[in-house]
């Protein structure tokens, strides 16, 4: 059960290409991150999945049972002059869903004591929680969240991300989440798509979270040869005089391989391969 995009493109005003031949999959029960610079096409992609944008080229398919999508895109949407209770009741009545589910959302998002207040008097974080509650009120099969923790305090962020992760695992909801806080995305996503200029340029998989990277700094003279020697290793990237070599197992093997070719790095650092590294490597390599 999944939502799949195949060669999906979207052009605004017949000229402005927002998405270009995007292939994308979101399965039920998994959390997929979407990262990229402003204007990369994240919001357009989310709007297409949510059914807000309906004119596009390519194929969007919902496989298996269930195709309802709840969304929080750009910023939370609500009637500001009405109470939180009114807003929730309004969309609850439109989308349906059982009351038990409804009460659980209110409780889990810590909103119970705020429901009587007008939404315009809420803090930014509380408005964000309301936005998430409204996205969840339809008991959706998929959830699309654009910067869901915007304006929340650190405790709130941890609480909300934990709750969303539980929703994916326990209720089997497929969650697509975007944020500029890469740590948040990394902590909760099974996979992360990197999007730039309307194209998905790479995918960061869960198993990469545990992968380690050797950062080797070479002198100008050795750099070219080192790059040639390290071609044997998959995913080697360069940033200035630093070569990053993903490895699994023994780092000594990499160093031995270099020394056999009379290559000795000036500096050696061993670190975990983070989404942040992955993201910037991809952005830099795309820029070249």
């Amino acid at each position: 059960m999944s939502v799949e995009m195949h060669k999906l493109s979207k052009t605004f005003n017949r000229q402005e290409l927002a998405l270009s031949e995007v292939d994308f999959t979101l399965r039920k029960g998994e959390v997929v991150g979407l990262v990229g610079p402003n204007g990369a096409g994240k919001t357009t992609l989310m709007k297409i999945i949510s059914g807000i944008i309906v004119q596009y080229d390519g194929v969007l398919t919902f496989r298996g049972e269930g195709r309802s999508v709840g969304s929080l895109i750009e910023k939370p949407k609500y009637f500001p002059n009405k109470s939180g209770r009114y807003n929730i009741d309004y969309f609850h009545s439109l989308f349906g869903g059982d009351d038990e589910h409804f009460d659980e959302i209110i409780e889990s998002l810590g909103m119970a004591s705020y429901l009587k207040k007008k939404v315009k008097d809420y803090s930014l974080g509380m408005k964000q929680r309301l936005g998430i509650a409204l996205a969840l009120i339809s008991n959706p099969d998929y959830l699309v969240l654009d910067e869901p923790t915007n304006g929340m305090d650190p405790d709130g962020i941890r609480h909300i991300l934990g709750y969303l992760k539980r929703l994916a695992k326990e209720k089997g909801i497929g969650i697509l989440i975007s944020s500029h806080i890469l740590e948040d995305i990394e902590s909760m996503s099974d996979r992360v798509y990197v999007i730039k200029e309307g194209r998905i340029i790479n995918e960061y998989a869960r198993d990469q979270h545990d992968r380690e990277v050797l950062e080797l700094t070479f002198s100008e003279g050795d750099l070219h040869q080192a790059l040639h020697v390290l071609e044997a290793y998959e995913g080697v990237t360069r940033s200035g005089q630093i070569l990053s070599v993903p490895f699994a197992g023994d780092m000594k093997q990499v160093l031995k391989h270099l020394s056999q070719n009379d290559l000795f790095p000036i500096d050696v650092k061993r670190k975990k391969d983070t989404l942040e590294d992955f993201y910037f490597q991809n952005m830099e390599s795309e820029a070249k």
Binding site: I53, F79, Y86, D89, S93, L94
Partner: protein, 238 residues
Amino acid sequence: MNVSQFFKLEIKRNLNLALFLSIGFAFLFGGAIVYSIYQMDGPFQPRNVSGLYAGIATVALGVYCSKIVIADLHYGTIYLLFTSARDRIVFLVSRVLVISIVSFMFGLGCAALLYVNHALNGQPFSAGDVGNAVLQYVLFGVFFTLLFQVISMVYQKVMQLLILSLVTILVLPGLLGIVFQVEAIPEFVKDFVAYAPIYSLPNQLPFLALDGMEMTLTAVVSLLLFVFAFKRLPKIDY
């Protein structure tokens, strides 16, 4: 989906203090004519009473007609309401239903004022006047709501839409009226303008003077606008 609960909340959202104040002000405004007839046995008729009432009622109702379709664009709640074709249709139907109720209340306010005029000044009033006032206000509300809905499907800038709606109700009928003063304009064009709801409604509603032909045409054009919106709304990007 709990349709009755949804409509109930939608109506609750729109039957607010501003609505009752608008009707109250229109009533007071029209009441000034009733009072002058009472005090001075003035030269006014019931049509002048409803006309002055409409001075505020048509503007207020016009604002409601546009507000009811553009409020969700303004708040962005369109993003929650428009996630499926079914929800978009529910939106359309609920807006028509709500504006019918709002217009009904404006019509009742007008009828109530005519009754007060009858009670105080002995001027003609019948049960038919109630039905006529309500029907004409409902036609006005539904037509302009559907017109603004269709416009908002191609142009989604909120403030400009609000201004456009006021211009459509307050200025455009006057501009269209110019065609009747130009002799060179063919008669069929003049007939077309005269019966066009966009002209006939704002001009005839104040005097509750829409004739059967005008009402029928307004109903038919409203139906066409509804069918167009019904077909197109699920196919539009937001």
